[in-house]
Symmetry: C2
Subunit: 362 residues, 2 copies
């Protein structure tokens, strides 16, 4: 499928929804792809199933704290440099690129690479949402080594990292990212088509477009975007969603530390919702508690949406006094296996609570 400018707008909106507060503002990535389109480039999204088993897929992304990404607009050439260096190291050309993270700006970074290099972009990713660390990818969960990985910055500096340990990869790459100024542009988890089919969350780019289109349509028709979203989800692999709170932001704590944006937001109930919801943040919304009781927990999605427009609000855009609606969404089964939960379940973030599917939470 060839991406149209309208799809791109929908994708950015849906990717922000799947970002669950993190992953950076896809708006910036959208501007980068639109620029490439204006220069005559096209973006082709291909089905995961259509990738030949022996074809090389090189996922691309940016790495860093979302609060910094907002301040520093990348050109796209940094990510291309990383992909080219990884190709040179592997001695093979990429058949396609792919997002590692559909949530947030990293849904669009591979589109910039795909547009400028004429590479198709696989409709799948390695997170099915946004997570703050490189090893928190289904690729890693199901045995794909993240290294060799190449990271570049806007000055042409680069690092190619090799390690057998995906957590060490995250640790070293995070260190380089911090020293590159807080963001870097990466190519990692190179794999063949067969491996991509086994380890990716499929169809997430088109899902993001669907979600964004649903929001845009209801907005145009002055319909209820929340009801429309809740009706859409059961037709997708993210088969369950519900509103878990409505209220006004009453308190907000955020800091950028060790390359992560950490914090907590407190929402006071409105519109018939009593009490308080507290959401813990590490780049993304990780756990939502209503008067102390867990209502949704990672890896399920916790989406903080503008109560008026249903527009997703990234954690760096949260402001005191905003009226928000919090939606919880079930993630697909590939993200809820014991192996997956061991990496990006609550314990992966130091949260002392078991994962409980949102369908079963009161």
């Amino acid at each position: 499928m060839r991406l149209e400018p309208d799809d791109l707008r929908d994708l950015a909106l849906g990717a922000a929804f799947l970002g669950t507060g993190g992953g950076g503002d896809p708006y910036i990535g959208r501007l980068m792809v639109e620029q490439a389109m204006r220069e005559g480039h096209t973006v082709d999204i291909i089905d995961l199933g259509s990738v030949p088993d022996d074809a090389l897929v090189i996922p691309t992304a940016m790495m860093g704290a979302p609060t910094l990404i907002v301040e520093k607009l990348p050109s796209g050439e940094e990510t291309i440099a990383s992909l080219r260096k990884l190709e040179a190291y592997l001695g093979r050309k990429a058949y396609a690129t792919m997002p590692i993270k559909v949530g947030g700006i990293n849904s669009t970074m591979p589109l910039v690479v795909g547009a400028r290099l004429g590479l198709p972009v696989v409709d799948a990713d390695g997170m099915g949402r946004a997570f703050p660390e490189l090893q928190m990818e289904t690729f890693a969960v199901y045995g794909v080594p993240g290294a060799p990985m190449v990271m570049s910055n806007e000055y042409g500096d680069s690092a190619l990292i090799e390690t057998a340990d995906n957590k060490m990869l995250e640790w070293l790459a995070r260190g380089v990212t911090i020293r590159m100024g807080g963001t870097s542009f990466i190519a990692e988890y190179a794999m063949d088509g067969a491996t991509a089919k086994r380890t990716s969350v499929p169809g997430t780019l088109s899902l993001a477009i669907l979600i964004g289109a649903c929001m845009r349509r209801t907005r145009r028709e002055h319909a209820d975007p929340f009801a429309a979203l809740l009706a859409l989800l059961p037709k997708t692999p993210y088969a369950f969603g519900k509103i878990i709170f409505k209220g006004k932001i009453a308190d907000l704590f955020r800091e950028t530390t060790q390359g992560f944006a950490k914090g907590r937001v407190r929402i006071a109930g409105l519109d018939g919702w009593n009490g308080t919801m507290e959401i813990d943040i590490q780049n993304e919304n990780l756990v939502a508690r209503h008067d102390g009781e867990i209502k949704a927990i990672v890896p399920d999605l916790i989406c903080v949406l503008d109560s008026e427009t249903a527009e997703p609000i990234t954690t760096e855009m949260l402001r005191y006094g905003q009226r928000v609606t919090v939606m919880g969404v079930a993630v697909p089964p590939i993200m809820r296996t014991p192996e997956a939960l061991a990496v990006f379940g609550p314990g992966g973030f130091g949260i002392d609570a078991p994962f409980t599917p949102i369908e079963t939470l009161g």
Copy 2:
């Protein structure tokens, strides 16, 4: 010249002298080379002048805070891995390896590589002493790019860094070194023979052996090692030396911060020396002040020696109450040009004083 075990002992002693308190204890490196020799390997030191102009020289070293190096004995395979990966990247085999730093343990690290791979080791280096940062090399001063650089640790993790900026190289590599646990093993400043001849401090490995042999001979003959050293120096490119203080260590402050061992030592005069000498340390001894008046300043050598044996004392081995003799030594002209002083003169360490040659200091 084929290195004999006796040469190795002398080299370790002389390299500690040239380390001016830093560069790590060469004793550890000596043990590593001796182990290789026991396994039947040999080490050949070759003259800088004998290297063909178009031959590839790849310097090797370890990177990190000397206080950490003491705690963690490397195997040598880490450095070999870095050299091999740099060769693979460049698509060329090395003709020889070379120290980047004759002062301290890095005089011996290339010998381990040379022994185990059967590569000759060039009798020259890029510092003529020890310095704490990668860009503080005559190679860099005279225009050689440090990158591509490969760094490895004992777990097989590695990073290949590319940048046009040698200070950025230091910044990124230091970050990776810290995240690798405080030390890494590196190959960098790959260059051809012609460039090595233009930018190296020549003859420094054999100079270290000469200095060590001088100390060992005087010790055996119960002669005065200080007088012997002061008589030897004028026959070398380090043509001037003098005793600038004698005393007892009265106070000592050290901390490992940002990957560097920083500190200050205060010595109370003895044996006819009055007042106090204070020496500022950043891995190496940087500036020596006698009652506030500068007596020697970087890049000239400030060697803190045991008053009894003339044994060099590395900054991490300084102890309260030690009786020490401080010797200042002039470095060769290639290390005192305006270009060289701009990089590793006093200003390079944030010292607000001009470089003054030790010959002209009172």
